[in-house]
């Protein structure tokens, strides 16, 4: 029988090519299995170097300061380029950056900055006022270069540098935000060679010349952004040898990387992630007051600047009693407890409490407390009576039904919507929740009744106040405006104009608080909570790091470079073992060997069978 007769081929040793292939597979498998330890060492310490690895998820839109708009990009620019002024890590007031001092003319229209002498570009050249003047002038004169920061220079009339340490900015109208110009100053000798600013992304030649605490040394789209300390930084060089922003598109995977020690820091934690990390060893959870507000916005009847009304906001919301009733039936304490699971503070005024200078909260008699009984009475007074079916109807006999616009990708929005539905149903108000991916379109078209709203607030509150002025509305219904909620309230606008022209910090803060009070009373923007910034870092890699505000604040996405610049490496962060194989390596080798043995047996058996068949 053919089966019993050994074939010539079966007796012949395997061909050299096959042996090479098996050998190569073995090497690949074994080497792959050995890699974990090498990878971990490389991530934490490269030849004894201290590397600070930060998990990020947002893709960079551009590394050109003239184009970048996303938080990840502008945060990296904070590290690469010094601004005229910085915000104090303690309380956010303006402190010297590239400018050591500044003063204004009596007519408030000319600002003169003294540029520091001890700042150098990373290529060794001196930083001068001419670099700053060129940056501002380029932004003012080149539409492409104004993409990111055009709004900061919109009120500039002329910018000059009469001397290497003197920068003069002439304004069209007084502007109190001249110490809050978040514009990276770039080296003229590098950037004046750029042709089309709309297509130059500053991500091809490394290292990138800058004067911030770090120098950008490498970047791979959606893989990493690498920076090295600028040894000549005027405030002192950072202590880590390298700062790496490493991409994790899924936050659960980033948390896993933190547990393993592949990254030093993770932000934007969910309550579940935070509580699971609290008990993990060598990990500290930073649950700090955030810079965002979370609000309920009511459509005041969308209108463009030319007076045209558009959209389909429910007219019932134009009655202040209805707006007050809606907010009075929102239990903010429960939202903080149940939705945010304690990682938030109950909302009061418009600006979060971490900005102590501008934080305002309503007086006891002004405050809209949680009071469903009062809410029902207000609705009765407004003419919305409860019918036999429990639903409230207006004087026109129509039931009171509202729509709520929310962000489909935000789990908090969905959870809050459920509560609102329940609470307002008890009042006899129907609520249709519309959670969509793209809220911007229906919102800007005025096609909503209520919406869940939220903004990140900067140390200078000008921008978040400006979005509720009449001037922020779109020029025509089809145009794009800066408005948040189509609010147009003349008393609010008057206060806005006053604060923008007020250079005295205390007086300006008082005006801002009066604006917040007015916004609260009009009831179109009702702040429900201030969500915390929940983040975590490895204490065996980072010994200490500055939060903003210093007393209790966030680490990622600061208005400054304080966190990464100040981070002190933990003494043991470079002491990962590099010697003998770990259990992982051994297991990897065993697994590889098993797979290899299986593959080899398979090949040999197949060869035997083939040989038999050939016989």
């Amino acid at each position: 029988m053919a089966r019993t007769v050994p074939s010539r081929n079966a007796l012949r040793p395997p061909r050299p090519g096959r042996r090479v292939a098996i050998g190569a597979a073995a090497v690949a498998l074994l080497a792959t299995a050995v890699l974990p330890v090498r990878g971990a060492v490389a991530d934490d310490s490269k030849g004894g170097e201290k590397v600070l690895t930060v998990a990020v998820s947002q893709s960079v839109d551009s590394l050109s300061p003239f184009l970048a708009q996303r938080v990840i990009s502008t945060s990296v620019h904070r590290l690469m380029y010094e601004y005229l002024t910085d915000y104090d890590a303690g309380d956010g007031h303006a402190v010297p950056g590239l400018a050591t001092a500044w003063n204004t003319s009596p007519d408030k229209l000319t600002w003169t900055y003294t540029i520091r002498r001890d700042a150098k570009w990373s290529d060794g050249r001196q930083v001068t006022a001419d670099d700053a003047a060129w940056t501002f002038n380029k932004t003012m004169t080149d539409k492409g270069a104004a993409t990111a920061n055009g709004s900061f220079v919109a009120n500039f009339k002329k910018v000059t540098a009469p001397g290497p340490t003197t920068l003069v900015v002439e304004l069209k109208r007084p502007q109190a935000t001249m110490t809050a110009l978040d514009v990276p100053i770039v080296p003229r000798h590098v950037w004046e060679k750029v042709g089309d600013f709309t297509r130059f992304n500053n991500d091809r030649r490394f290292p990138v010349v800058g004067d911030g605490p770090f120098v950008l040394t490498d970047y791979k789209v959606d893989q990493y952004i690498k920076l090295r300390p600028n040894k000549t930084f005027w405030r002192g060089a950072p202590q880590f040898d390298e700062l790496v922003f490493k991409y994790y598109k899924d936050n659960d995977a980033a948390v896993a990387a933190l547990r393993k020690g592949e990254v030093s820091f993770v932000s934007n934690l969910t309550p579940a992630q935070a509580s699971s990390l609290k008990s993990a060893s060598h990990i500290k959870v930073n649950d700090a007051p955030g810079r965002r507000f979370f609000a309920l916005a009511a459509n005041p009847g969308a209108q463009s600047k030319d007076g045209t009304r558009f959209g389909d906001g429910n007219p019932a919301l134009l009655d202040p009693r209805v707006r007050r009733a809606l907010f009075a039936s929102v239990d903010r304490t429960m939202l903080v407890d149940k939705v945010f699971q304690g990682h938030a503070v109950e909302g009061e005024g418009y600006i979060p409490p971490r900005f102590a200078d501008y934080f305002w909260k309503p007086a006891a008699e002004q405050r809209i407390a949680y009071d469903p009984v009062e809410a029902a009475a207000l609705l009765d007074a407004a003419g919305y009576r409860t019918g036999a079916d429990g639903r409230r109807t207006g004087k026109d006999g129509r039931p009171l039904g509202l729509r709520l616009l929310c962000h489909a990708i935000d789990p908090n929005d969905k959870a809050v919507s459920k509560y609102l539905q329940e609470w307002w149903a008890k009042l006899g108000i129907g609520l249709t929740v519309d959670c969509v991916d793209n809220v911007t379109d229906p919102w800007m078209s005025g096609e909503y009744d209520l919406a869940l709203d939220g903004y990140s607030v900067s140390p200078d509150p000008d921008y978040v106040l400006s979005i509720h002025t009449c001037a922020a509305r779109p020029a025509t219904p089809r145009a794009t405006g800066q408005t948040d909620d189509f609010v147009c309230d003349r008393p609010f606008d008057e206060l806005y104009a006053k604060q923008l022209a007020e250079y005295d910090t205390a007086k300006r803060a008082d005006l801002v608080k009066r604006m917040e009070s007015r916004l609260y009373d009009t009831g179109y923007i009702n702040v429900m909570a201030y969500p915390n910034a929940v983040e975590a870092y490895r204490t065996d890699q980072i010994e200490s790091i500055t939060t903003m505000p210093e007393a209790a604040g966030n680490i990622y996405g600061q208005d400054g470079y304080w966190s990464w610049w100040s981070a002190v490496p933990a003494s043991g962060s470079a002491a990962k073992p590099g010697g003998g194989p770990s259990a992982g390596v051994v297991l990897g080798i065993v697994a590889g060997a098993i797979v290899l043995a299986g593959a080899a047996s398979f090949v040999v058996l197949r060869r035997r069978v083939d040989a038999d068949d050939r016989e």
Partner: protein, 354 residues
Amino acid sequence: MTTASSADTPAVVTEARTEPRGRRFTAGPALAYLRYVGGKLAGAVVSLFAVLVTSFFLFRIIPGDPVRTMTHGRQVSAEQLGSLRSQFGLDLPLWQQFTHYCGGALTGDLGTSYQFHAPVGSLIAEKLPATLLLTGTAVVLYSALGIWLGTRSAWHSGGLGDRFHTGLALTLWSVPSFWLGLLLVITFSVGTGPVPGLFPTGGMASGDTSGFAYVLDVAHHMVLPVLTLVAVQYAQTLLVMRSSLLDEMGGDYLTTARAKGLRDAAVRRRHAVPNALLPTVTMLFINLGHVAAGSILVETVFSWPGLGGLFYQALSVPDLPLVQGLFVVFAGAMIVMNLLADLLYPLLDPRVGR
């Protein structure tokens, strides 16, 4: 034998397959094959053109103003917004935008991404290799595994092995890929109990490696995402292969082969499997067509820098030039793979294309 006299029987197919390659297409069939190829090529070109036109209008139906979305929450002036509209060409009438798009596409220029300020072609080229590597490897592996296990399951249908493999494959098929991926990360990257952290938690490379070390590093990063894709996807190949082989197993030509004294394995491998392969080959090419599109969920869980994630970002703005370019590439890959499958069919089964 009666089976050999019928042109439609599988036995004839087997005979045709055993003919030497050089004699397969004589002048007549070769001409028929060329006509067949020409027809398929023309069809592919027409499809590609339809894709080009569709991609322009399709994404303009989706609600969303790119300028509004990109600048929402940012400190921008009305002048900046107007400038952006003009920069993106959104202030032009639709027909002008369309002619610009067509002109560019025909010369290989897919436009400039709104959000990344870079040519769409270079953005796609930057991420395409990562996607091809990950998804391509997975498709090859799960197809091979599916064919192998499917063959064995069918050959021993109803047996313990068949029931085990079919059950396991269907279970894994119904598992959400992101969930399985996360499970693998937690188990084999972080380490659980006695299992140490063997693999990286994400990304394509650790960085700072080059040459062979880089190749190994990438291979190391690929293990878990490829495993996830293979585990979730191999069921479809297994089931198709199993089903088509079961159809063939009653064939008289197999009895003939056995009667010739061929071993059971040889009957399976040389006679049954080649005839059962056609549906699996179709599926393989469909899957290869999907390779370019990547896998958004697996790329996200493993932070793999591929096209799936880019497509998601492009849609969320919507970044019209980028989303159009990606659509053309994805659809183009599918058309090319379909074309290749069409061209390959006559070689696998000479009845096709006659």
